[in-house]
């Protein structure tokens, strides 16, 4: 198997062929912020928080999403520049402004990746207009709930359902900021004919958008690592005698 050597944040690291910058960094103890990425699911490069600066031949850098960019020989990468920190901060602020994220009364308070991202990126207030869209809450499923107010459209639920459970109950409807995750063809979740009620979407959700019914403020603790556990076990056939 071929191996590439590259430099990340002034550190020489090696990466197996096919590994992404994110994987190479993470194996070498360099942490890059991510939000739409989740171990066990495919990468879509949507949240742009994992953008890194890659040196370009002839000077300057280009931005690349670490989760979907393959590590290549002699790449020189910076993961934590002033510019990246500024962009990441703006992205987090844009997310807080887009829907109605009210941490204090959220089921996922203290267990939320968006809230945590605000901490790590130093977001102490939001410089943009709160858009305050009217969003529905779908409580038609007997066990789970969906609160669009808290959804950041990372599509982890869509991918977990499609790639791990194989049901593809979830998808996205609409476009732009009016996009919404939907079950089946925008039927109430409880009326979905494809949902197996496996709960993998709830495990994957970074915020309080998907939750167990009956959970109240701060009670919703997602089990996000369970997905990679399942996928690993399946791929390595760990459950075969």
């Amino acid at each position: 198997m071929s191996v590439h050597t590259l430099r990340i944040d002034e550190k020489d690291v090696s990466a197996r062929a096919g590994q992404t910058i994110l994987e190479a960094a993470s194996e070498n103890g360099i942490s890059i912020p991510t939000l739409c990425h989740l171990e066990g699911l495919s990468n879509v490069g949507a949240c742009r928080l994992c953008l890194v600066e890659v040196a370009v031949v002839g000077g300057g850098t280009r931005l690349a999403a670490a989760c979907v960019t393959a590590a290549a020989e002699e790449m020189v990468i910076q993961t934590d520049t002033d510019r990246l920190r500024e962009y990441r901060k703006m992205i987090v602020e844009l997310l807080f402004a887009e829907r109605n994220h009210v941490c204090s009364v959220c089921v996922a308070n203290n267990h939320c990746e968006l809230q945590e991202m605000a901490v790590s990126q130093g977001v102490d207030h939001v410089r943009y207009d709160y858009l305050e869209p009217r969003c529905d809450v779908d409580l038609s499923h007997p066990r789970f709930g969906l609160d669009h107010n808290r959804c950041i459209l990372c599509t982890r639920c869509v991918r977990a359902c499609d790639e791990v459970e194989g049901a593809h109950t979830w998808d996205v409807s609409g476009r732009g900021t009016l996009s919404r995750v939907v079950t089946d063809l925008n039927a109430p979740w409880g009326a979905s004919e494809t949902c197996t009620s496996c709960g993998k979407c709830v495990m994957a959700c970074p915020t309080g958008a998907l939750f167990h019914q009956s959970s109240t403020v701060s009670e919703m603790i997602h089990e996000r690592t369970r997905l990679s556990f399942l996928v690993d076990a399946r791929e390595k056939k760990q459950w075969h005698a």
Partner: protein, 180 residues
């Protein structure tokens, strides 16, 4: 050194931030030695005075009184701190915004959700008129420091006050800036 003129203001919020301020416990004694509390819900002062050094503003801007108050506060104060999530983000106070303007909110609360004698309260001069949208403080006036949290825990408040009392530019970092 002259004693610092401190004020605290309570706009559209639940007063939880002020409760957390009172949780400073014995530090309140130290504080009392070093500042004059010139205006606050916990002292008897009717008018927000001129020449305030530092103000902690709790709550979002929700009605016309809040709006007039925050403008006055900004004019008369050197360092304005957005104190707690309602001031910083709108938080629970702003939950009404997606419902629509003040008419929609009042109808929802006092007509649609009531079983008996539905009526929209109207008492000019007594009840302040609601703004159509609740906004965080910094969307109305400039803010010097953000102190998030619902409520901000007492140690976080103390950290800010200590820096400011020492005449240092206050800075919060890391977990000190968590919403919620």
């Amino acid at each position: 050194m002259a004693r610092l003129r401190l004020a605290t203001v309570w706009l559209g919020g639940c007063s939880g931030c002020h409760m957390s301020f009172l949780d400073l416990d014995e530090f309140l004694m130290d504080l009392a030695d070093r500042v004059d509390v010139v205006y606050s819900p916990v002292v008897d002062a009717k008018e927000y005075p001129e020449g305030v050094d530092l103000v902690l503003v709790e709550g979002a801007v929700a009605n016309e009184d809040n709006l007039a108050m925050i403008r006055r506060v900004r004019e008369r104060t050197r360092i304005l701190v957005s104190f707690g999530d309602c001031a910083v983000t709108g938080n629970v106070t702003a939950l009404r915004n997606p419902i629509g303007g003040s008419d929609g909110v009042l109808r929802r609360s006092f007509v649609e959700q009531t079983d008996r004698d539905p009526q929209i309260p109207f008492a000019p001069g007594v009840l302040p008129v609601l703004l159509d949208r609740v906004t965080p403080v910094h969307s109305v006036v400039s803010v010097d420091l953000y102190l998030p949290g619902c409520p901000p825990p007492a140690p976080r408040i103390r950290a800010v006050l200590e820096q400011l009392l020492d005449g240092r530019p206050a800075r919060l970092a890391g977990r000190e800036i968590k919403f919620g």
